[in-house]
Symmetry: C2
Subunit: 336 residues, 2 copies
DNA sequence: TTGAAAGCGCTAACAT
DNA sequence: ATGTTAGCGCTTTCAA
């Protein structure tokens, strides 16, 4: 906290009978310390259980060995999955990670909030990662890498997924099975990912020469409820779809529940495909065919890029795309 | 990062034509600033997009408004669920949260690691929360609250769950349904929670006068695999159990899978009950009867206690117990 | 190889 | 009501 009664570098110095600068040299392995002195200081550090203050360290030095992470919502399973990948990367490269969340400032607009967080973390980290930001311009000199930004042309290094291609793959698959009436339940319409998935749905139909039926497109918001409600609407149509493409796995789960409640068996009576492939998707019954975004990989790659930037490397471009791939878990047969 | 080219309090002061201390007063709403000056400074702060450096702030001041969180493993869904509760609390009380994870130092023993993290966070937070720590003595003056410590008599404020009572409730329930042969698949045997659940299993049988059959107890480690393997062993016994009590929900999922693979229908042929009730448990099919630990509530309460301590309040005792409760999702009928 | 001293950005006395 | 000043714990010149 602050009025820290913890042992400081001064106490270590006194106990080891050296100056603070010598202790600092030992801490940072500067090398220009006599072997004997080095060991004595190390011993004292050990004995006193000394840990240098992150606050003081980051105030003076360029490098802290800590990476900052900002997430829109810690509770978001999607963001959490990204964190898994980040975690792998920091372990691999020997960095520490600080995740910052604010309880207050809900009244501030997202871009403002993000900027505030970045400059906050900026003071104690070597670089910052942001998940699904609403802006990509940040008032900082230290590197920033954004993951899945909700911005068309990011102005900083960004890692994105091939949402459009993934949605197209789903449509190719379903159409290939013989489906002609395919319903779609969308994600949060203000998000780029949702727009791209819808686009893939539409273009997939177009490519196959199947006319677009507006009745078959339902709004959603990436929740299970949206899937449930949307599926009910779709299945009650005079001419219901034989397959439903849900904007994410949770929505797909809602679809399956609605179908069941209406006495339909999945996949016998209805084919269901989802986007995303979070770990809990594995618990679904029946197993769900999904588009795997390698969400955690986005986190991993973003961290790798960030660490490269910290080390002074400069990647080719600003954008890095992680390919999606279709995982067929349960055959979605044609009903025709 | 550090060589922060960000705007500092000095630049704000110069732009607003006041001294740094006046800016500091405005920032901290000290009140003894002229209305006019206050507004001018606020305007400049806004204009320059100034954010005070966490590092510098925490070095000088007692209060940072930030709470630190240390988790054994960010990937652990149990710990994540606790974080949900913490998140609710910090939102409620207007604090910020910093989660600290280290990629390196895997070689250090857990207690040492925890101490290191605490003193690290200590320098930038007002208090620290630790999930399932291996120690409860920390070299810090700022308050620490531990959640579900793996220590019998914690030496700092601790929030724990009534694991034993919960396990007992499961046994009462199953025995009440008529079950006499009840299998048990344990959790990580080095953890207190696992020991207490096993104890509840054994005492539940004893209470009902049912002799303990060692064959019915399988080791586990809180994973799905452990449930799968353990259930296979149990169900292949000459005299297999009619019900299985799994140490947590993931293990229960493994049990269900094993039973299915052996041609048994749950719950018709086998009753399954789990401990824990993470959100993904809701996706299980058939619905699982579990002991809800209110895991997130543990996080919430711990945060409340910590904030109280920060504010100088002193709770009654060191220990706070969160009651568990049995959630009956699917009737576990007797097979006798 | 080591120490002394300056100063990072900020807050909190103490002056005015 | 505002400014001046002394550090917080650390790293980093610069001297010795």
């Amino acid at each position: 906290m602050a009025r820290n009664r913890n042992v400081t570098i001064r106490e270590v110095a006194r106990a080891a009978n050296v100056s603070v600068s010598t202790v600092s040299r030992v801490l940072n392995n500067k090398g220009d310390v006599a072997q004997e002195t080095y060991e004595r200081v190390r011993a004292v550090i050990e004995e006193l259980g000394y840990t240098s203050s992150l606050a003081a360290r980051s105030m003076r030095s360029r490098r802290t060995g800590v990476i900052g992470l900002i997430m829109p919502d810690v509770e978001d399973p999607y963001a959490f999955q990204i964190m898994r990948g980040i975690n792998r990367a920091i372990a691999q490269y020997g960095y520490d990670l600080i995740l910052y969340t604010s309880g207050s400032t809900k009244k501030v607009s997202p871009p403002e909030r993000e900027k505030r967080y970045v400059s906050l973390l900026d003071s104690i980290t070597d670089g910052v990662l942001i998940v699904t930001p609403a802006t990509t311009t940040f008032p900082t000199s230290s590197p920033v890498v954004v993951i899945d930004p909700n911005i068309d042309e990011p102005e900083c290094h960004a890692v994105i997924a091939t949402n459009y291609a993934g949605a197209l793959a789903v449509m190719d698959y379903l159409i290939g099975l013989g489906h002609r009436r395919i319903g779609f339940i969308g994600g949060r319409p203000e998000l780029k990912s949702a727009i791209q998935r819808l686009q893939g749905y539409q273009d997939g139909l177009r490519k196959a020469g199947i006319p677009l039926d507006p009745d078959l497109i339902q709004n959603g918001d990436y929740t299970q409820e949206a899937g449930f409600v949307g599926a009910q609407r779709l299945l009650r149509l005079p001419n219901p779809p034989t397959a439903i493409f849900a904007a994410n796995d949770q929505t797909a789960f809602g679809v399956i529940q609605a179908a069941r409640q209406m006495g339909l068996e999945v996949p016998r009576d209805l084919s269901v495909v989802g986007f995303d492939n979070l770990p809990e998707t594995a618990y679904f019954n029946p197993p769900l065919t999904t588009v795997d975004q390698s969400i955690d990989k986005m986190g991993y790659v973003a961290t790798e890029i960030l660490i490269g930037l910290i080390r002074g490397e400069s990647p080719n471009g600003l954008l890095y795309e992680i390919p999606t791939r279709l995982i067929i878990r349960e055959s979605c047969r044609s009903l025709l």
